[in-house]
């Protein structure tokens, strides 16, 4: 099974643009299922992006972030072929990590 995290990172000059798409239900805890029972909240709380041993971006998320969440940001540094590590943890303590190459 593949990781839940997809990354598209591209360098141009001295800047690297990072886009990430993560497969996650991001249940808010406000939605009921067909039987009327509340679907408990289940959402990513922290996402960390690392490059060269340094955290270059951190996201703190709540249940208002959309399902299959997306992020885009840019940082200085990084070049084609470098590796980036992306990790998340959700409110149930579940986690995932992936390593992506900058293109």
């Amino acid at each position: 099974m593949a990781s839940s995290i997809r990354v598209r990172a591209t360098s141009s000059g001295d800047r690297t643009e990072v886009q990430a798409l993560i497969q996650h239900p991001m249940d808010s805890g406000f939605v009921k299922d067909a039987s009327g029972a509340v679907i408990p909240s289940h959402y990513i709380q922290v996402v960390d992006f690392e490059h060269g041993g340094k955290i270059v971006f951190t996201a703190f998320w709540g249940p208002a972030v959309s399902k299959d969440p997306y992020l885009k940001f840019t940082f200085q540094g990084g070049k084609k072929g470098d590796e980036m590590m992306v990790s998340w943890v959700d409110n149930k303590g579940q986690k995932d990590t992936t390593v992506a190459k900058i293109g």
């Binding site: 709380q45 922290v46 208002a64 972030v65 303590g93």
Partner: protein, 167 residues
């Protein structure tokens, strides 16, 4: 918000993450995407600002996150649609050319919990973030940018309607 009772020592995890990255070791949890990784990798949950995410209005979020009041600024750019095509997935971008931006937050005033997302911007990272948010209904969206000199904001109204094609 729920506490995470399976949280192991955050200090332990953070050190392991740093050591792993520093040593060039790949801590890779493939094959068991949603189960705790064998090597203790993952975002650091202990730094998640619980009080801010529990807040139910703008003032409470600002108090929990920043402890100072926000000044509207045209150097904070908030891009959001006028009419959301669907309140469940609204693309929003916050950017700023204020100097030394350290944090960006996005608030959705009519949501049950006001704070949607908060971002840490280390040195060398651009003051711009795009994401997709849930808007429960027609609302003002507020972007807060912490930069040198204080806390700055911009707001935009986004209409969220009942779709005709839903279901």
């Amino acid at each position: 918000m729920e506490d995470n009772s399976s949280l192991t020592g955050s200090l332990c995890r953070r050190s392991l993450l740093k050591a792993a990255a520093g040593a060039g070791v790949v801590v890779f949890a493939s094959g068991a995407a949603l189960l705790p990784a064998v090597a203790d990798a993952g975002g650091d949950q202990s730094k998640w600002p619980k009080d801010a995410f529990d807040a139910k209005d703008e003032a409470a979020v600002i108090g929990a996150l920043f402890g100072k009041s926000a000044t509207p600024s045209d150097k904070v750019k908030l891009e959001a649609p006028e009419i959301a095509e669907n309140g469940a997935v609204v693309p929003i971008t916050v950017s700023s050319d204020l100097p030394k931006v350290t944090r960006i937050s996005v608030l959705v005033l009519e949501n049950p919990y006001t704070l949607a997302a908060a971002y840490l911007i280390p040195d060398g990272t651009g003051a711009s973030v795009s994401s997709r948010l849930k808007l429960a209904k027609t609302t003002k969206v507020v972007a807060l940018v912490e930069a040198e000199g204080g806390l700055f904001s911009a707001g935009k109204d986004v209409k969220v309607t009942v779709g005709g094609c839903g279901g």
